[in-house]
């Protein structure tokens, strides 16, 4: 009897064994569509649990299985193994076809984030239509980042967790070829020397964001 009480008290103050924590995370991740943050796991699990540790075990357990434990930014989710996609034809959701402009804009945001509209235009050499950005925002693949500390304090764009989840990336650092691009200097934002034409400069939206007077004052 006294042992029972002792056991109970123990369970109140001590975290469950790691194998049990693994089960718990398994249950939570299986049940949820959206990736779950470690912090939320911690909040939902008994006091003293260490989800980060348990996740390592769980991830290993599912290696080579039909579903995998994947990391998405600072969150975790269970997703089916990509090689079994062929079984899932019925489940495929027809995604809206993205225009070439939208795809390029998305890639530029992913590789150059945080990036302003003006910088995207400088890279593509054309103005970015509002619709393109809106479409990416609506898909929740991009969102607004911090304002840039440059004249006019323009807004920036960054990619979202949904973007990472969609493309099966653990973080934006895992973008294909990122390292090579960086070492080749292709992710640098080199200002054009002197008299270069400012490509894609005729954009109205950008002008809204930067007061004209300031532009003139600071840009040359």
């Amino acid at each position: 009897m006294s042992e029972d009480i002792e056991k109970k008290e123990k369970s109140l103050f001590e975290a469950p064994p790691i194998a049990e924590q693994e089960r718990m995370i398994e249950a939570i991740l299986f049940a949820t569509v959206e990736p779950v943050t470690v912090k939320e796991l911690e909040a939902r699990m008994p006091h003293g649990s260490d989800p980060a540790e348990a996740l390592v075990h769980l991830r290993k357990r599912y290696e080579g299985r039909g579903v995998r434990v994947v990391r998405v930014g600072d969150s975790w989710a269970i997703r089916t193994a990509p090689d079994l996609g062929f079984l899932m034809r019925r489940e495929t959701v027809e995604t809206r076809k993205l225009s070439r402009a939208a795809i390029e804009t998305l890639a530029i945001i992913a590789y150059h984030q945080p990036v302003t509209r003006a910088e995207i235009e400088e890279i593509r050499g054309v103005s970015v239509s509002r619709g393109t950005v809106d479409q990416l925002l609506e898909m929740e693949w991009i969102r607004f980042g911090r304002r840039k500390m440059t004249p006019g304090r323009p807004v920036t764009f960054v990619v979202t967790q949904e973007f990472l989840d969609h493309f099966g990336l653990e973080s934006a650092r895992d973008l294909p070829g990122l390292k090579e691009l960086r070492s080749a200097g292709l992710l640098e934002n080199r200002p054009p020397p002197g008299s270069m034409p400012q490509l894609g400069d005729g954009d109205h939206d950008a002008e809204e964001e930067t007061p004209e007077g300031q532009n003139e004052l600071f840009e040359d």
Binding site: F30, A31, T32, V33, A77, I78, R79, T80, A81, P82, L84, G85, M88, E91, T92, V93, T95, R100, A101, I103, E104, L106, A107, I108, A110, Y111, I123, R124, G125, V126, D165, H166, F167, G168, L169, L175, P176, G177, L181, A184, L186, R190, P192, P193, G194, S195, M196, P197, L199, G200, G202
Partner: protein, 262 residues
Amino acid sequence: MTDETFDEMGRVESVANRMAAESLIVDVDGFEGPLDLLLMLSRTQKVDLRKISVLELARQYLTFVEKAKALRIELAADYLVMAAWLAFLKSRLLLPPDPSEEGPSGEELAAHLAFQLERLQAMRESAARLMARDRLGRDFFARGIPEDVTRVKRVTYTATLLDLMQGYARIRTKDEFRPYVMDRDALFTLEQALERMRGLIGFAGTWTDISTYLPEGFTTDPARRRSATASTFAASLELVKEGKAEIRQSEVFAPIELRRKD
């Protein structure tokens, strides 16, 4: 897609080249701006973008624009701006540098253009690689039957040390507060003033300063005087409104005078 077809044509000699150039012109709507067009043209050089001859590229672009003009194809302003700039760049690259001239050299400008082309090309390739990845909802999938998560709301209460101390201070100093009651002693109300004025106005046949209407005991102490003056003035206006009196002030800050109206 278009890139490849053009690549193949680029290998063929001048006739094919011209045809290609013409097909480019016909397809001008398909280009996403002058940089895109330059990138396309640069492929005909069949070299690494890093070794591209910007001078040659400038020639190709200018030829393209000339042809478009000859065919009376309207080009967007962007293309013409680029053409003007490339013509300028061409002259800079061909002429010996003028030491007195300021600004970046032709080589610097050419290098930046080459950089821009390389960067755009790199982004195109990256975009293609990105889109070719295994994708959620196409190659791998999320949970089909998400389980409901019941949301339980729990309320916790909190307070800061400051709240606590202010709370205590509030109690301990309560005795020092006076309950909020109007101090009638120092007040001369509008009702009182009106009553007094109604009685007196009958005697005011000539213009009289309203300050003379202030009641006994309200003329020396500033607070009482303020109150009585305000009420007397308001009461005077009330009498004017009722048509029993007239009021005037000769200039700003001059005494306000009142007279009975018959």
